[in-house]
């Protein structure tokens, strides 16, 4: 007890300020600047709607992240389930009264922002699982009860998001959850068995998909089959990246983006636009920035005294990695096209909000790294 209390955090504000992870902050700022430039380029080299609101959002949410950093990690632990329940509530709300766009009902109109609760769920599920496994003894992890309950926790939001319908986000939520399950020590054979079952049942799952989703998956295997239809996005994206070359076509000179050959260039395909203009060198630099960011997040997790902090940082860092690789693999033609934003880079308030909350919690884990949670 004494040891625990002595390790509880009592540092001053300046000590806390000093213990912020500045390398991480630097990476986030770099990403903010790069994304603003890319957004400026999508607006055709003018400060128009997309670039303007992206910069404002970044600044607002970055400030918010700093505030979150100073909230004790304990508080996040305390409200972990509540946060999950609130987001779940918002998801149900979105399914019932949400705004429909592009055939999918996934937004809630909050007047100043169109909130997409499914994006928040990516964080909420990690937070929830981190809290759940924080107190589960390692010996009990593979008990049936501790398998069933997390699966239910995971299954409910996924099924809500799938029916919106939003295949991409639901897969990312599932992956976020599964990452924490893996870290918590759930028996490896469960993962092997379930992935086998998934592969076998894939054809049946595909048959339940919407026609446009089916088409996307089929197109992935042969994009040239229908180059002006479903294969168009993949082909144009590959052309943009490929034509970028070693050093790119230059800032604001990406013809594929400027001449509107790139689909969804603000959101899912922002990396394509960036890669066309800045080439291989720019893309690698961006990857390095992301890699440093992920490395810092995981390092913070490794120094955390609490399992909650560890789970969250490891989980969140890995999830960020998954989001990045899924997005990049998709725009590079390595995975089928499913809606998945590139963290911080892509236009979209909810995704930015979720990422910044996550980063804030990571930062707070660092500041309160000695904080024990009973």
């Amino acid at each position: 007890m004494f040891i625990q209390s002595s390790l509880s955090d009592k540092s001053t504000f300046f000590q806390k300020l000093r213990s912020l992870d500045y390398i991480m902050l630097f990476c986030i700022l770099i990403l903010g600047i790069i994304s603003s430039l890319a957004m400026y380029s999508t607006d055709g080299g003018e400060l128009l709607y997309h670039s303007e609101s992206h910069i404002i959002r970044f600044l607002v949410f970055f400030t918010m992240m700093i505030f979150i950093s100073f909230i004790n990690i304990k508080t996040w632990h305390t409200f972990g389930y509540l946060f999950y329940v609130i987001v779940l509530g918002l998801l149900i709300w979105a399914s019932l009264f949400g705004i429909t766009a592009q055939g999918s009902q996934r937004w809630i109109d909050l007047y100043f922002i169109n909130l997409q609760p499914s994006e928040l769920m990516k964080i909420a599920i990690i937070l929830c699982f981190a809290k759940y496994y924080h107190r589960v003894q390692i010996a009990n992890v593979n008990k049936l009860r501790n398998i069933i309950i997390p699966i239910l926790i995971l299954f409910v939001p996924i099924s809500l998001v799938v029916t919106q319908p939003d295949l991409g986000t639901s897969i990312l939520i599932a992956l976020s959850g599964i990452i924490v399950l893996w870290l918590a020590g759930v028996n490896a054979k469960y993962f092997i068995y379930s992935s086998l079952i998934f592969i076998i049942s894939a054809p049946f799952i595909i048959s339940f998909l919407k026609p446009y989703q089916k088409l996307r998956i089929l197109t992935f295997f042969d994009p040239d089959k229908d180059p002006l239809g479903a294969g168009y996005q993949i082909i144009q994206s590959k052309i943009a990246v490929g034509s970028g070359g070693l050093i790119g076509k230059g800032f604001l000179k990406g013809t594929q983006g400027y001449l509107e050959f790139l689909p969804e260039k603000h959101t899912d395909f922002i990396f394509t636009l960036f890669s066309e203009e800045f080439g291989f060198v720019g893309s690698i630099l961006l990857l390095v920035v992301y890699a440093i960011l992920i490395f810092r997040i995981i390092r913070i997790g490794s120094f955390s005294r609490s399992f909650f902090g560890k789970f969250f940082c490891y989980g969140f860092g890995s999830a960020i990695f998954v989001y990045i690789t899924v997005n990049m693999a998709m725009v590079l033609g390595l995975l089928p096209i499913v809606g998945s934003p590139l963290p911080i880079m892509s236009y979209g308030g909810s995704s930015m909000l979720a990422t910044m909350i996550g980063l804030g919690i990571v930062m707070s884990t660092k500041i309160y790294r000695r904080q024990m949670i009973s």
Binding site: Q137, I138, A139, I179, W182, L183, A184, G185, Q236, K238, I239, A240, V241, G242, S243, G244, G245, L246, T255, Q256, L259, E260, F261, S275, G279, F280, S283, I284, L287, A291, I294, I298, G301, S302, F307, K310, F311, Y314, S318, F321, T325, M328, A329, L332, L334
Partner: protein, 657 residues
């Protein structure tokens, strides 16, 4: 408890870290995969994707090439490019298309159906593509549009070029006409396919078609950057095209116009040729039609009027019309008979008229003259065109020897090779009949062949060439309609002919072989005769046919030596004359048009120092002496009056080179 708790916590930490480590290893591999993919796309396959990206964004717009023009011998433009006033609109740039159209309809007095067609056309194309409202506005309409331009936003009055034939129907059968390129044109000509743009006009017949490659010109090319929707964003470069070549013809417009007048309301053909240079001075076929009608698509009723005209204005009779030469073949028959020593000038035949026609194997062969000519010498037989004499002469000569002479003088072969539908005609021989019809030759056929009837078929231009080659003393010439800037002077040609004649008189087979070897490209106006005197004899006979009493064209003679010409009439039957018809002896207007004889006349002049050959054909015109020969009289006046002017220009061309 604490210990076990700590132990359990330790184990848990271990598990988490171990799992994180495995995961991190997997991450590294995936990251490497992404980097590898980027490398393959951006470095290895960069060229491929760069090309694809350029293909995406760059579009070429080709503008119609400017067509080359035609000039006559004196530099008058006979096919030119006129400024054309057009009205264009880009529907995308117009706020209210319908209102605008109604306003334009009022200003230009367009019909409702025209407006509907326009709207249909507009709906078919992309909104940023130019719609041509009117291809050919008058100056009045154009200025009216410009006057109202401020209230017609989006409308663009455009100046462009369109083909124009200032002499209308005068040159139709020489130049042909242009019209919008058809699918057929695109398939059959690579150059048209390559230079094609919407609205491109290409040659359909005549020299416009034959010289398409020289005339068409090169497109100007605009290179544009376009966006994903095909909209032009900006022009990247502009490549200036090239106008097609200007083509100079040997034709004299004044004479060409005059031939048009001479053939007015007749079906027929006139050709005039320089007997030394082979230059065609006039070449006309009647009736003609206005080639300007085809530029913007001919109206249906006008087209069917031309197509169904019984006088066949679409047929270029001069090069594509095949006719029996009738008596115009007789100079060649006479020459052939003399050359082959079958007859001598003194050889006589008694022509006893319709009561005592020549009989051969039970068939009767009549002379055209009912009463008969009496005893005819060769010269008189040509002069008075006695058929009986030529039956006998050709019987002695045989068809194959005649074929050899006639072919040498230009019958049975293409003359210019510049027109697609130029016909070869037929100069029959025993071999030809065997191959073409599969039958043996009959002697009777030799007889009618000798008066230019039967299988033999010629074009008016072939007869003109034949006459020219006789008139220059029997030397080969090279007919042309396109001006040759390297044309040799008349003196030089005459000199060469003289030399060729001298060589011919020596036993010179060996010499000409070596000569051929050295002068393979040089024009050697070689002799087509064996004995020069034979040609002279035939020319003399033609002179008397025109200038001596009882000659068939005596009434059309000109006594002034400046214009004096020599010729041979021809009256070609278009069907076999039955016994009854022969006895009826109908006047020309009692016979249905289609059954009337074709009237021929071939001539050369001035007789003292000949320079020009003509051939005149009047389809179903009756007899050559009454219909065709009088035309020659007028024609020679005009041709010889223009001679000095032509000489001056020729000297200028010679000194230019």
């Amino acid at each position: 408890m604490i210990g076990s708790g700590e132990d359990s916590g330790f184990k848990k930490t271990n598990t988490i870290n171990r799992r994180m480590f495995i995961f991190a290893a997997a991450k590294t591999i995936v990251f490497c995969g992404i980097v590898g993919r980027l490398f393959s796309l951006q470095i290895s396959e960069n060229k491929k994707y760069l090309t694809l990206s350029d293909k995406n964004r760059l579009r070429e717009a080709r503008l119609p090439p400017i067509r080359g023009e035609f000039e006559d011998y004196f530099g008058n433009r006979i096919a030119k490019n006129l400024t054309v006033y057009q009205l264009h609109v880009v529907p995308e740039q117009v706020e209210d298309f319908k209102t605008l159209m109604v306003r334009i309809k009022d200003i230009l007095n367009l019909s409702d159906s025209y407006l509907q067609d326009l709207i249909k056309k507009k709906n078919k194309q992309k909104p940023w593509e130019t719609l041509i409202i009117s291809e050919n506005l008058t100056w009045g309409e154009f200025s009216k549009i410009n006057f109202y331009l401020h209230e017609l936003s989006g409308i663009r009055p455009v100046l462009t070029v369109g083909r124009n034939y200032p002499y209308n129907e005068t040159y139709t059968h020489v130049l042909g006409y242009v019209s919008e390129a058809s699918v057929n044109d695109l398939v059959s000509s690579d150059i048209i396919k390559q230079r094609n743009v919407p609205g491109l006009r290409v040659g359909k017949i005549g020299l416009e078609k034959a010289l398409e490659e020289d005339l068409i010109g090169k497109n100007s090319i605009q290179r544009f950057e376009v966006n994903a929707y095909g909209k032009r964003i900006n022009q990247i470069d502009f490549q200036e095209g090239e106008q097609g070549k200007t083509i100079k013809l040997t034709i004299d417009t004044e004479i060409q116009k005059y031939t048009q007048e001479l053939l007015k309301e007749k079906a027929g053909s006139i050709s005039v040729m320089d007997i030394y240079t082979g230059e065609i001075i006039a070449m006309n076929s009647s009736p003609s039609f206005n080639p300007n009608l085809f530029l913007y698509g001919i109206k249906k009723n006008k087209w069917s009027e031309i197509k169904n005209d019984p006088l066949k204005p679409l047929l270029n009779k001069t090069v594509s019309g095949l006719y029996s030469p009738g008596s115009t073949i007789k100079p060649i028959v006479a020459l052939s008979a003399l050359e082959n020593d079958v007859v001598s000038p003194n050889f006589k035949v008694n022509c006893r008229g319709h009561k005592h026609p020549l009989e051969l194997y039970g068939m009767k062969y009549h002379c055209w003259k009912k009463q008969g000519h009496g005893y005819m010498s060769l010269k008189n037989a040509i002069k008075q065109s006695c058929d009986t004499y030529f039956y006998e002469a050709s019987r002695l000569l045989g068809v194959d020897r005649l074929n050899a002479t006639a072919t040498k003088f230009g019958l049975g072969d293409i003359v210019l090779g510049r027109f697609f539908n130029e016909k070869k005609g037929i100069v029959p021989s025993t071999k030809w009949k065997k191959e073409a019809i599969g039958q043996n030759w009959y002697l009777g056929e030799t007889l009618i062949n000798g008066i230019g009837q039967g299988y033999i078929q010629v074009t008016p231009l072939q007869l003109c060439l034949m006459t020219a080659q006789l008139a220059n003393g029997g030397h080969k010439i090279y007919p042309k309609i396109i001006l040759d800037k390297k044309q040799e002077s008349i003196e030089k040609i005459k000199q060469k002919m003289k030399l060729a004649g001298e060589n011919n008189e020596k036993d010179s087979k060996l010499l000409s072989a070596t000569e051929k070897f050295f002068n393979i490209n040089e024009k050697n106006y070689h002799a087509l005769y064996r004995n020069k005197q034979n040609v002279k004899f035939v020319l003399d006979a033609m002179f008397s046919s025109t200038n001596e009493i009882y000659g068939t064209s005596f009434s059309s003679r000109i006594e002034d030596p400046k214009y004096q010409f020599a010729g041979k009439t021809g009256t070609a039957q278009v069907k076999r004359i039955t016994k009854e018809e022969r006895e009826l002896d109908l006047k020309i207007n009692q016979i249905p048009y289609k059954e009337r004889d074709h009237a021929w006349y071939i001539a050369f002049g001035p007789y003292k120092n000949p320079r020009y050959a003509v051939s005149i054909l009047i389809e179903h015109g009756g007899s050559g002496s009454s219909t065709a020969a009088p035309i020659a009289k007028k024609l020679f006046k005009s041709v010889i009056d223009r001679h000095d002017l032509r000489e001056q220009v020729q000297i200028k061309y010679l000194t230019d080179v």
